[in-house]
């Protein structure tokens, strides 16, 4: 699913990934842990096709990331530090829009909102009026509606209450059980470690198995 060999990705001239070798199989939930600035977010963004690979070989699913970045992106769902929402639109409008861009059906879109508990009293509330946790759940509903094959999540539990965190973990386990690949960067080691099937340490732009 994900196969990196000595991958280098740069931010400006800085080698944020300095020769990453990593293999992740379908159905795995891999936790990326490491200090701030280690390259966890950069690794996720590179997997998402947002940053170009300048050296090494990288395959995501069955595609060459260097040659087929555009194609890779259609199969990837990334939830980064920002939520990717339109704050003037309602929860319903946002999930509908993001689901529609991925060709999701009406039922799939509704199911995603129900799953993340944003289908009821919040559905017609503009995102700008939501709390941070509610916005996070809305962003996760958009991700679920997109039915990605590779899930990339950067601090996904941030801002969520306990019930939402448990539900998110269930969703991730279910996605992995359905054959998706999940890569999570998190500082909440206790929760993320119990969720992950494997833990990988990112240090100074490189990766070490733990």
């Amino acid at each position: 699913m994900v196969s990196f060999r000595d991958v280098v990705a740069v931010l400006g001239t800085f080698p944020a990934l300095a020769g990453v070798t990593l293999d992740v199989e379908a159905g795995e939930i891999v936790l990326l842990q490491g200090p701030n600035g280690a390259g966890k977010t950069t690794l996720l963004r590179t997997c998402a096709g947002l940053l170009p690979v300048v050296r090494g070989t990288a395959r995501i699913l069955e595609f060459d990331l260097a040659a087929d970045r555009d194609v890779v992106r259609r199969h990837v769902g990334l939830l980064g530090h920002q939520n990717g929402l339109y704050v003037d639109l309602t929860v319903r409008d946002n999930v509908r829009f993001w689901g529609a861009t991925a060709g999701a059906s009406h039922d799939e879109i509704v199911a995603a909102m129900v799953r993340l508990d944003v289908h009821d009293r919040l559905v017609d509330v503009p995102v700008r009026k939501l709390s941070a946790g509610q916005r996070r759940r809305t962003a996760l509903a958009c991700l679920v509606a997109r039915r990605a094959r590779l899930w990339l999540l950067d601090e996904p539990h941030a801002g969520l209450d306990a019930a939402s965190r448990d539900e998110l973990d269930r969703i991730l386990r279910q996605a992995a059980a359905s054959g998706a690949t999940v890569i999570v960067a998190s500082h909440e080691l206790e929760r993320a470690t119990s969720l992950a099937t494997r833990v990988v340490e990112v240090v100074a732009g490189q990766v070490r198995e733990t």
Binding site: L50, L51, G77, Q82, A100
Partner: protein, 227 residues
């Protein structure tokens, strides 16, 4: 999903955001109106105002374009939505065309209102034989402005200092539209002895500009917004 379906999705999304946030009615229109008024006070001679009114309409439109483009891309960058669209593999051509379409609709509404304001403020009249020329000018000029605005808006979106960079990039590029549209509207309104037939070559220029930037923007937008 086809490029056109996604284009439509994005254009509707932007127009829905505008309907909810009312930036045009609450901010852009008052700004354009104040611009027109200030020009009227500054020039303060009916004969001069009558002569330059077509140019003033388009000048106010240019300044308003900058505000609209800033807004069109701030909604994409504020919470990382443009990044999210790139990750989602949304075709960059569809993003460009959708945002251009939405911008064109907003600009058209603005231009019609500004034309009405000019008729009132600057004592302009629209002869019957100039109506078709006027409508075609509005449409072609709008397409050109929307194409350029979206292209440079996308270029400036991820850059620090984009608020000052955008006018620097956009205004020189839309200068041909300012000139062509002004001349065509002068012909449509019969300003300073111009006749309707004088305006059609300028409409031709606007159409070429719109097509060139529309096609170029569609092809260039993807690499521009990618890292």
């Amino acid at each position: 999903m086809s490029v056109w379906k996604i284009t439509w999705l994005i254009a509707l999304k932007d127009l829905r955001i505008e309907r909810r946030s009312r930036v045009i009615t609450d901010q852009v229109l008052p700004f354009a109106g104040v611009t027109m008024l200030i020009f009227a006070f500054a020039l303060d001679a009916d004969s001069v105002l009558e002569r330059v009114a077509p140019g003033l309409i388009w000048l106010a439109t240019m300044f308003s374009l900058l505000v609209l483009v800033q807004r069109a891309f701030s909604i994409e960058t504020d919470d990382g939505a443009l990044d999210a669209m790139r990750v989602a593999g949304v075709d960059a051509r569809a993003i460009y065309l959708g945002k251009s379409l939405s911008l064109a609709v907003q600009l058209l509404v603005l231009e019609v209102i500004l034309l009405g304001a000019a008729i009132v403020l600057y004592a302009q009249t629209v002869p019957l034989d100039g109506v078709v020329l006027l409508v075609v000018t509005l449409l072609t000029a709008t397409c050109g402005l929307a194409s350029v605005g979206t292209l440079y808006g996308g270029l400036a979106a991820g850059i620090r200092g984009r608020e000052t960079l955008l006018p620097l990039l956009t205004l020189p590029a839309v200068a041909p539209v300012l000139i062509g549209a002004t001349r065509a509207v002068e012909a449509a309104l019969g300003t300073a002895g111009a006749v309707v037939s004088d305006g059609w070559p300028w409409v031709g220029l606007l159409a070429v500009f719109a097509v060139a930037f529309g096609v170029g923007g569609t092809l260039a937008f993807g690499p521009l917004i990618d890292e």
